[in-house]
Every structure is written in C-alpha cells, then in structure tokens.
C-alpha cells in the first residue's frame, strides 16, 4: 500500500521560530509537493520538487523554503514563523507530474503559530 508520512500531526510554534516539516514517501515517486489547506481556499501549492535537489516555486512560496536531499524525503522550512502561516500543511507525491498520474497525500500537519 502506498504511503506518505508526515513527521507531526499537530505542531504549535511561536512567532519567529524556524519550523521544519518533514515528509517521507515509500513509492519511489519522482515528484513531491507541499500544499497548504485553508478553509474556502482549497489547496494552494507552496513548492514542488521533480528530482533530488530540484525544486520549483508554487503559487505561495513567500516565507517558505524546501529541501530534497534524498528522493524519498521532502522538507518544508518556515524560516521565521508568522501567525499567518497557521494552517494545515499537506505533502503529496506522484509519478511524473506532467502526466495523468494522481497525487498521494500524507495525513497533514496542523501548524499553529502563536
């Protein structure tokens, strides 16, 4: 069974802290994604990676960075957390993104920044 795991289900951080969200997939997928999910806004793409050490900005990359040192792992970094980054963060993976392949999602990390 395909699996995407995220390091934390719930996280509470203080404003200004550096935050790391980790995602691991066991399907040998080339592509990995980070989204944030907010009510009424659906999913918005933060960053996408199509290979190790390769990344592309999504729609809302400001305030975030990513790291992909190994194929199975994709990390999202909040350099200096702010209250407007309180959200649900979803990681996903897929086969080549320019094809019809669907994405497989992790359970999500609900981040609260106080």
């Amino acid at each position: 069974d395909v699996k995407v795991t995220q390091s934390s289900r719930y996280l509470v951080k203080r404003t200004g802290e550096k935050v790391f969200l980790e995602c691991v997939q066991d399907m040998d997928h080339e592509n990995m994604f980070w989204y944030r999910q907010d009510p009424g806004l659906g999913l918005r793409l933060i960053y996408f990676s199509y290979d190790v050490k390769m990344k592309e900005k999504g729609d809302i990359p400001e305030g975030y960075s990513v790291s992909r040192e190994k194929k199975e792992r994709f990390s999202l970094i909040l350099e200096s957390a702010s209250t407007n980054q309180t959200s649900m963060y979803l990681c996903a993976s897929s086969r080549p993104a320019t094809s019809a392949y669907e994405q497989y999602f992790g359970p999500g990390t609900r981040l609260t920044v106080t």
Binding site: N31, G42, L45, E102, P107
Partner: protein, 114 residues
C-alpha cells in the same frame, strides 16, 4: 490560466438518495480532471480521474463523474449516498500541456443524513 470552481460550499442529501457534487473548470488546453476526498483528520484520497475517451468515469466507493467538454464540467455523482460518504470533496484540474501544476477547487462539504 487554469481555474476550478466548486459552486456549492455544502451539499446535503439523505442516505439512499443520489448525490451530485458540481465542478466546472477552465484550462487553455485539454484537461486532466481529478476528484479527491478528505475524511475528517485525514489527508486527501484519490477517487477518480478523467484522461481521455469515455466521458463517464468510474472510481472508488461507487462514485462516478461525467466529463462534459461543452459545459467544461466534471460533476461527481453517486446513485445512492451513504452516511459514510460525508466528507470534503475536491475537484482538481491539470492542463495536459501545462506543466506540473494541479489546480484544486475550494472544496465542497457533503453531509449525508441518515
């Protein structure tokens, strides 16, 4: 630019009745279309997709969706709703010639009443 509209924030239906969750899209080229479902406190799960060919697509849990090119719609349907179908449903589109980005709708919450 690609976009997805889910015109209903919420759909209420009685158990045993047919259900429809609406989705319209806009892409410059030909679309790949997807439906995902999110159960409480869980990540998104893939339900079904349209690639090409037959306009009626069948997916998981008895769901199906009809692609209508002239109306640019991809409505999700099920002949007989179950209480366990209550969840948040997302429609998504990717332009076949448009790279890696999948655009998600804002989501429709389905309530099935016993």
């Amino acid at each position: 630019a690609q976009s997805v509209a889910q015109p209903e924030d919420q759909v209420n239906v009685a158990e045993g009745n047919p259900l429809t969750v609406k989705c319209t899209y806009s892409v410059s080229g030909n679309p790949y279309l997807f439906w995902y479902v999110q159960y409480p406190n869980r990540g998104l799960q893939f339900l079904l997709k349209y690639i090409t060919g037959d306009n009626l697509v069948k997916g998981s849990y008895g769901f199906e969706a009809e692609f209508n090119k002239s109306q640019t719609s991809f409505h999700l349907k099920k002949p007989s709703a179950l209480v366990s179908d209550s969840a948040l449903y997302f429609c998504a589109v990717r332009d076949k010639g448009g790279g890696f980005k999948t655009i998600f709708g804002a989501g429709t919450r389905l309530f099935v009443k016993a």
